[in-house]
């Protein structure tokens, strides 16, 4: 069993020479194709570097522009030469100048020996590929592509659209079922000879010459006609980024490449000296392992995902998504409470105890940021300065939630606070917004300020809260919103509290047996009536009884429902 290597080279010739020498000295014939656009001097240098090796050949040179027929022509030429000059070769491995063998040739040969007559080539029907550049799969085979995708993109796209509109379609030659796949394959001598010596070769070539990116489809389609046994995967480890460009391997990938147990990897950075030194060492250890690129897939698929979607709720120098294009507006779920601290004076500590969450006071209070525990600086260096916060409230909130990842955040809101983020939070799926409407009036009632002032302030805050509630009822709201008018809430506070606590800490399964201590509401009904008598209409409190006797906090028993 002998494997012959075809190398398609267009740059980094010193590295290509090193790899060619490694294979040739291990007894594998090597045929090198150098891009026709490469100048004479580097080409001659490469030739002279390898002239001592009897089993290295250079094939006729074609111009190999990306996605052009030249790549197929170059491969055909090199393969023909390989079959003609090296009769001992049973398998032909197609590689590029930036490929690096990760395992000794003997390993590969043993692997192929154990799987006789098998062609290793990724070959997938056009319906099943999910990775095609430009979104073209089947149409690669049925449209014409006279313009370059890279340098004439507008013409390329326009011509595709035109052909679609007029319903143009090329006829696919009989016997060819379009397949796509990685251009790096390892074929048996028989299959490759059958493709190259086919009586229909001229028709195949004439057809594929005008298919888009034929190097990903010529051999991939024709093996379906000529191969006896296809193993649809590439023996070359190659990963692609979100633009479909190959990932480059550097010295720091050494461990990763080793773990993959693949035979060949591309593309290697030419200056990755450590990789070349390690993998081209003459005493390469043999590992009888199945190639397992899956072991390192996670890293690369995660990288693509993060490149495309980013980390939820993170805004930073190289990712500042447009609105509606965020991968989550904020980093984690959080809960806001309006009116609760007015009804239950110890609400903050009680909620923290029940749920284990970090419960802040009014983060958007006008005087300062009321962080939990009265801290002056929060995680990440967030300051309690109201000026800093109000300079960019959105950055303040998103930073707070990003910095506190892993710890559930709750905070109080109110109509006297900065309202700048009401819309942002309402549109945030992470927000759980609970409001006891009208509760803001209780502290004012208890404030002892002159009635005229209190009346004015109640009217002002009611207007703000009413606008906020209207926003929270909009159709586009994504937050989990719960609103109880004060009177309704006081009738039965247990159920709302149970719901809220369960939502924050579902795993703790907190069961409420009693509500936290309530504020003293005596006289509040009379106060609301006084407001009405003064011509003001307190609407957000619900049907609060005007009777002075109504005192829900004192003697109503609350039981577990």
């Amino acid at each position: 069993m002998t494997v012959g290597f075809i190398m398609l080279c267009h740059t980094a010739f010193d590295r290509a020479a090193q790899v060619a020498r490694y294979w040739a000295e291990a007894g594998s014939p090597v045929v090198i194709h150098v891009d026709a656009s490469v100048k004479a001097q580097p080409f001659q240098r490469l030739e002279s570097q390898l002239e001592d090796l009897a089993n290295v050949r250079f094939s006729d040179r074609f111009a190999c522009e990306w996605g052009s027929w030249g790549l197929v022509a170059a491969t055909q030429g090199a393969a023909t030469l390989m079959l003609r000059d090296f009769a001992q070769v049973d398998h032909i491995f197609l590689a590029s100048g930036s490929c690096l063998p990760l395992r000794p040739v003997a390993d590969l040969e043993a692997y192929l020996d154990a799987r006789p007559g098998t062609d290793f080539i990724e070959s997938v029907t056009t319906e099943d590929v999910g990775w095609t550049v430009g979104g073209l799969d089947r149409e690669r085979f049925t449209l014409r592509f006279p313009f370059s995708w890279r340098s004439q993109r507008a013409l390329f796209d326009g011509y595709v659209r035109l052909q679609r509109r007029v319903g143009f379609s090329r006829r696919i030659p009989a016997g060819i079922e379009p397949h796509l796949g990685s251009q790096w394959w390892c074929l048996t001598r028989d299959t490759l000879a059958a493709i190259l010596n086919s009586p229909d070769r001229q028709a195949h070539d004439a057809y594929f010459r005008r298919v888009w990116i034929p190097d990903e489809s010529y051999f991939q389609s024709l093996v379906r006609r000529y191969s006896g046994k296809i193993e649809s995967r590439s023996l070359t480890l190659s990963k692609f980024d979100f633009q479909g460009k190959p990932h480059i391997f550097y010295d720091d990938h050494l461990g990763l490449l080793r773990r993959s147990d693949c035979f060949v990897a591309r593309k290697i950075w030419p200056h990755a000296g450590q990789l070349y030194k390690t993998f081209l060492a003459p005493d390469g250890k043999r590992v009888m392992a199945e190639p397992n690129p899956g072991r390192i897939d996670k890293l690369f698929s995660k990288a693509v995902d993060r490149r495309v979607n980013g980390r939820p709720g993170l805004y930073m120098q190289s990712r500042f998504p447009d609105r509606e294009f965020e991968n989550g507006r904020t980093a984690a779920p959080y809960s806001t409470f309006q009116g609760f601290a007015e009804v239950f004076p110890e609400f903050q500590t009680w909620l923290g105890r029940m749920t284990g969450a970090l419960v802040h006071g009014h983060l958007f209070a006008p005087d300062r940021v009321h962080f939990a525990g009265g801290d002056a600086v929060f995680h990440g260096g967030l300051s309690d300065s109201a000026r800093l916060r109000d300079y960019n409230p959105r950055s303040f909130l998103t930073s707070l939630l990003w910095n506190a990842r892993g710890e559930r955040q709750c905070f109080q809101t109110g109509p006297a606070d900065n309202q700048a983020l009401n819309e942002f939070m309402a549109g945030d799926v992470n927000a759980q917004i609970s409001v006891v409407s009208g509760a803001f009036a209780l502290p004012l009632f208890r404030s002892g300020l002159p009635f005229a002032e209190v009346r004015k302030e109640v009217a002002r805050l009611q207007k703000i809260e009413a606008a906020h509630l209207a926003l929270l009822r909009a159709s586009w709201v994504k937050a989990r919103v719960r609103i109880w008018p004060l009177a309704e809430f006081l009738e039965n506070p247990m159920d709302p509290l149970q719901t809220i606590v369960e939502e924050i800490a579902p795993r703790l399964r907190p069961r409420l047996t009693e509500v936290p201590r309530m504020a003293d509401f005596s006289g509040f009904g009379r106060f609301l009536q006084d407001l009405r008598n003064q011509g003001m209409q307190p609407t957000l409190m619900g049907d609060y009884p005007a009777s002075d006797d109504f005192n829900p906090g004192r003697d109503r028993p609350f039981l577990v429902s």
Binding site: Q243, I248, D252, V304, Q317, R319, F320, S383, N392
Partner: protein, 271 residues
């Protein structure tokens, strides 16, 4: 001057092939030190920094003359560039990859480092604020404006005066390009569009090196700050008072992976 050998060593290690220095009237041996370096070209001027648009006119000319077609890295002497994998992948690896991606620029936000204890104690600058940065989009240039950090937290009254931390220090230069405002923003505008999820680095900023309080006194007297110098009197006074910037929330500088995990820089698909 004391930080220059380290500055040169670090950036040589990253693969910078040649340094172009502008020495604005130093008298501490800086020029003599630079003159004997094999890979340094030195320009000297006694002209006013403020009058030269904070040095931008000088830098702009050098870039136009000497950087066309090259990747150019523009730094202050108190800045150190790091980026994902900087120990194993030099600037050649980074810029070749950027070329392949069709990106002509690489952003690196400034990160102010400060010591434990009072500034004058001269302990190592290895602490930073990780998550108090205010980011907004500037509509005209479509550039990001990042402000905040330790200076806004501890030294400035008015958040509007917060330092601009956005920087695009690494650009595949074309003689038609121009920095607009330090290296914070650049023309043409498309070069400011680096916030689409791509890669980024960090400029470690030795703003609070030993002697910062006395330098603040000098700078206050020199009145060469951006914008209206009088607006920064309170800032200088806060520095002169030799404050403690470190707190329980402060993070000790680890490696680039730490900074990436904190969301301050990103590999942006370059793994």
């Amino acid at each position: 001057m004391p930080r220059l050998p380290g500055f040169l060593d670090h950036h040589r290690g990253l693969g910078v092939r040649h340094f172009l220095f502008i020495d604005n009237g130093s008298d501490d041996g800086t020029a003599e030190f630079l003159a004997v370096q094999p890979d340094v070209s030195l320009w000297r001027t006694g002209a006013g920094y403020r009058a030269a648009r904070f040095g931008l006119d000088w830098i702009g000319w050098l870039l136009m003359r000497h950087a066309h077609g090259h990747w150019a890295l523009v730094l202050d002497a108190d800045e150190t560039l790091i980026y994902p994998y900087w120990q194993t992948r030099d600037l050649r690896a980074l810029t070749e990859w950027l070329d392949g991606q069709g990106r002509a620029m690489f952003p690196a936000m400034m990160l102010d480092l400060y010591p434990e204890g009072r500034l004058s104690e001269g302990r190592p600058l290895e602490w930073f604020d990780s998550g108090n940065y205010a980011i907004r989009m500037q509509p005209i240039m479509r550039n990001l404006w990042i402000q905040g950090g330790v200076r806004s937290r501890a030294l400035l009254d008015d958040p509007r005066r917060g330092p601009t931390l956005t920087k695009v220090p690494l650009v595949k230069w074309d003689r038609r390009f121009a920095y607009v405002n330090s290296t914070h923003s650049i023309l043409p505008r498309r070069l400011n569009r680096f916030y689409d999820g791509g890669p980024s680095g960090i400029l470690l900023h030795d703003k609070f090196a030993d002697g910062a309080p006395s330098r603040a006194a000098q700078e206050k007297a020199r009145r060469e700050h951006f914008f209206d110098p009088a607006l920064f009197d309170a800032y200088y006074d806060a520095l002169i008072a030799d404050p403690v910037l470190h707190g329980p929330h402060s993070r000790r500088l680890g490696g680039w992976r730490q900074l990436e995990a904190l969301g301050l820089m990103s590999r942006g698909g370059w793994v």
